[in-house]
């Protein structure tokens, strides 16, 4: 296999090198890619959508349809991880471990008995390791700021790098951080599985729904200028607002998907303590 791999790799590589000779020189301002289509976006983005970040206007408006499917890809990945890994309705384990929070004593109960939820006891798994107070506290302090930053990234995507996707990942990462620093159960208490699973399609549906709204208002799918009549603004601002709406949808979808995938992978679908 190694030799075959090597041969294939070398042939492919040689072919690509051969082809690259005919490329325009690197960073050539006169290459077709820089002169044919991109000037339109750069020159008209502000006029068309009043969004200074060309990437955002291009992402969410000119090629907004791609982005909708990009979000759908993410949703799909979350769903696939769920359907592949989640062990739903599985048997409760015979033995359960509990830890008395104050004293650190571990209690093991057999034959499916359990302790009713209380402040004193927390449920732990076989793989439990003692938490580090510094990490726990540090993370807890950081998480609100991370989330705040994420919201900023989503909201300010119009005029600075960032947008729904990056913000969504960061939001998701904040919850994942909680799950890592504490345990998965703690994170799940904040974000129930059902909430995640419903918010995820809702996020993408906000995107697709915005598009459909434009369609219902009489223009083409995702033509945000149709929103002008609803939002009582001029078509150009309507485009800007439309972009914000879909960015929010993307943010929700991406955040929940990241959490969803993490939940399923880190607990192998069992939704126990996790990492």
């Amino acid at each position: 296999m190694k030799i075959i791999g090597l041969i294939i790799t070398i042939i492919t590589g040689a072919f690509l090198v051969y082809a690259a000779v005919d490329f325009p020189a690197w960073a050539d301002p006169n290459s077709p890619a820089s002169t044919y289509l991109s000037p339109y976006f750069i020159e008209n983005s502000m006029k068309d959508t009043s969004v200074p970040n060309f990437v955002t206007s291009l992402l969410a408006d000119y090629r907004g349809f791609d982005t909708m499917f990009e979000t759908t890809v993410i949703f799909t990945a979350g769903l696939v991880c769920f359907i592949l890994l989640r062990i739903s309705g599985g048997k409760e384990p015979e033995t359960r471990h509990y830890r008395h929070v104050l004293t650190g004593v571990t209690v093991t109960l057999k034959e499916g008995r359990k302790i009713p939820a209380s402040e004193d006891f927390e449920r732990i798994d076989d793989l439990w390791t003692p938490p580090d107070l510094i990490i726990k506290t540090g993370c807890r302090l950081m998480i609100p700021f991370i989330q705040l930053f994420a919201l900023y990234v989503i909201a300010h995507g119009h005029s600075s790098p960032g947008g729904g996707f990056q913000g969504g990942v960061i939001l998701g990462a904040s919850i994942i951080l909680l799950a890592i620093s504490h345990d998965l159960r703690t994170a799940l208490e904040r974000m129930r599985e059902k909430v995640v699973a419903i918010l995820c399609p809702v996020g993408v549906a906000i995107y697709a729904g915005t598009g459909t709204l434009c369609l219902l208002l009489g223009l083409n799918f995702l033509d945000y200028s149709a929103l002008a009549s609803v939002l009582h603004v001029d078509p150009i601002s309507a485009r800007s607002h439309g972009i914000l709406m879909v960015e929010i949808g993307v943010g929700i979808a991406v955040m929940t998907t990241m959490i969803w995938i993490y939940n399923n992978i880190s607990s192998a679908g069992k939704y126990n303590q996790g990492l």
Binding site: F15, L16, Y18, A19, A20, V21, D22, F23, P24, S31, P32, A33, S34, T35, Y36, L37, S38, Y40, F41, D61, Y62, R63, G64, F65, D66, F69, E70, T72, V73, T76, A77, L79, V80, F82, I83, L84, S88, G89, K194, A197, I198, C200, P201, V202, V204, A205, A208, G209, G211, T212, L215, L219, N220, F221, L222, D223, Y224, S225
Partner: protein
């Protein structure tokens, strides 16, 4: 509303996917009606679209209101109008036929399964309808990811074979993406029609050549064209029957469509066939694919796996036909997309019914099926006849055009391969018929043994199957109309 058909075909299934996903957490019984309605709308819209195209010519839809090449546009011409109808119809019939087996195999995961199912259909429909090279990549990935999810839900070996598929599929999609990048770097555009307009002065460029070859290799990987077919048989065999009867008919066929679209629209036949001298190589590869597929199928003792090797051979038919570089061959390839999708659906639905009742698909499990499941087996006979290429089932007619194309191109190797694979198919299928018909043997002439009671699959599974079988014959009888009114216009005038 009719001017919105192009986007509705994609959007209605997409929105319904979210609805199903949410309904799965609220009320599971809603899922099936939603998916059937959505696919029904898709079928309606695609038929309406095809009729519009037949009447008025190419339909162009600007997404987001941006005219191409600035925005993304949908181009619906005769070629993808036809494929759209096939894809949506196959998906609709299959989901109805597979309701029972989905509920049996995934009692608590039916809703996510339906969601993935309809997302996959969305992806495939999107691939077919789009006129933007990069948009196609994104949809390709949707179809692929959902496909991995659906396939991996099968037997215990399914995850491994799916992971292999995932590696290959990712390489394929990335190659395609790279090819698009090469096109972008030399033309600066992503819109297919626009690229085709900008390309002619660049036909001598190595980058364009590389883009073409890389795109082709990527697409071949995805459609399991020899010698890149190794992932397909295992991945399809171990999949749940509802998934394999969606994926087996559609994915390879849609990828063949992408190949034809690239050849006809993006690179134009002049470049693909005249500038490059690749025809012969590819057709010979197709010949090997057909022969290999047939022989490997012959070696299998397992119905579903045997059928997967037949798919490999059928891919050879279509690629070979398209690369013959003449009108008849291309007609055959396009017609075979339609026919092969339908006949593969037919045989895989049969496998689904058998699995539902007998819980197995090895040859030993098939004994006495003619008596036990007469309707299912009746449809199987029709499907098999179509794969063999017996008139008036549709398989014969596409084979006719393929052979005609090969004769006109003077490629007798391809003719021989087609005839050979027909003959092997006869052996393949009659071997199965024999098992279903003769076995289990009784001692004396079979006069007295008590006939086994009929134990047919539920009506909901049998009726769609029979519909497919009837469609197979109808498409065969109306081949003349399909070719004269649709496919004739799908092939550019330049190709003779």
């Amino acid at each position: 509303m009719s001017q919105q058909y192009p986007v509705l075909i994609v959007i209605v299934p997409l929105l319904s996917a979210f609805a199903i996903s949410i309904a799965g957490w609220v009320n599971k019984r809603l899922c099936f009606p939603i998916i059937v309605t959505a696919l029904g709308v898709a079928v309606y819209a695609s038929v309406g679209l095809l009729l519009t195209v037949l009447e008025k010519g190419v339909v162009i839809y600007h997404l987001g209101g941006w005219p191409p090449p600035v925005g993304i546009a949908y181009y619906v011409d005769h070629l993808n109008g036809l494929v759209l109808v096939v894809v949506s119809l196959v998906a609709l019939l299959n989901v109805i036929a597979c309701k029972k087996s989905i509920e049996l195999e995934f009692p608590d995961k039916a809703a996510p399964f339906y969601t993935l199912y309809i997302l996959m259909v969305t992806g495939l429909l999107g691939i077919v309808v789009t006129g933007d090279a990069f948009n196609l990549y994104v949809l390709l990935e949707i179809a692929a990811l959902t496909g991995y999810g659906l396939l991996a839900m099968g037997e215990e070996r399914a995850p491994l074979s799916t992971l292999n598929y995932l590696y290959m599929g990712t390489i394929g999609a990335c190659f395609y993406l790279l090819g698009v990048g090469y096109l972008y770097i030399v033309t600066g555009s992503l819109n297919m029609v626009d690229i085709a307009r900008l390309l002619p002065p660049l036909y001598q460029s190595k980058a364009v050549l590389a883009a073409f070859i890389i795109c082709m290799v990527g697409v071949w990987l995805k459609m399991a064209f020899f010698p890149l077919h190794a992932w397909l048989p295992n991945a399809y065999t171990h999949a749940p029957s509802a998934a394999s009867s969606l994926i087996a008919p559609l994915v390879t066929k849609v990828m063949v469509y992408v190949m034809i679209r690239l050849i006809l629209t993006v690179f134009t036949p002049e470049f693909a066939f005249a500038t490059l001298a690749l025809n012969n190589v590819v057709v010979w590869l197709a010949v090997i694919a057909i022969v290999m597929g047939a022989i490997l199928a012959l070696a299998e003792r397992n119905l579903k796996k045997m059928l997967t090797f037949i798919i490999v051979a059928e891919v050879g038919y279509m690629v070979g036909g398209a690369w013959l570089g003449n009108r008849a061959g291309m007609t055959g390839a396009i017609l075979h997309i339609v026919n092969d999708a339908l006949m593969t659906l037919c045989v895989f639905l049969v496998v689904g019914n058998i699995v539902y009742k007998v819980k197995g698909y090895a040859f030993e499990d098939l004994q006495g099926l003619f008596r036990k499941m007469p309707f299912t087996m009746g449809a199987f006979v029709v499907g098999a006849m179509s794969i063999i290429g017996v008139p008036p089932t549709c398989g014969f007619f596409s084979k006719w055009y393929l052979i005609l194309g090969a004769l006109q191109a003077g490629h007798y190797g391809f003719v021989a391969a087609l005839i050979f694979s027909s003959l092997v198919s006869v052996v393949l299928f009659f071997r199965i018929f024999e098992i279903c018909y003769y076995e289990p043997f009784s001692d004396h002439h079979g006069h007295d043994h008590p006939p086994e009671p009929m134990d047919e699959a539920p009506l909901l599974m049998v009726v769609p199957l029979l519909i497919v079988a009837v469609i197979l014959i109808l498409v065969g009888l109306y081949t003349g109309d399909i070719v004269n009114h649709v496919i004739k216009f799908a092939i550019p005038e330049g190709l003779v």
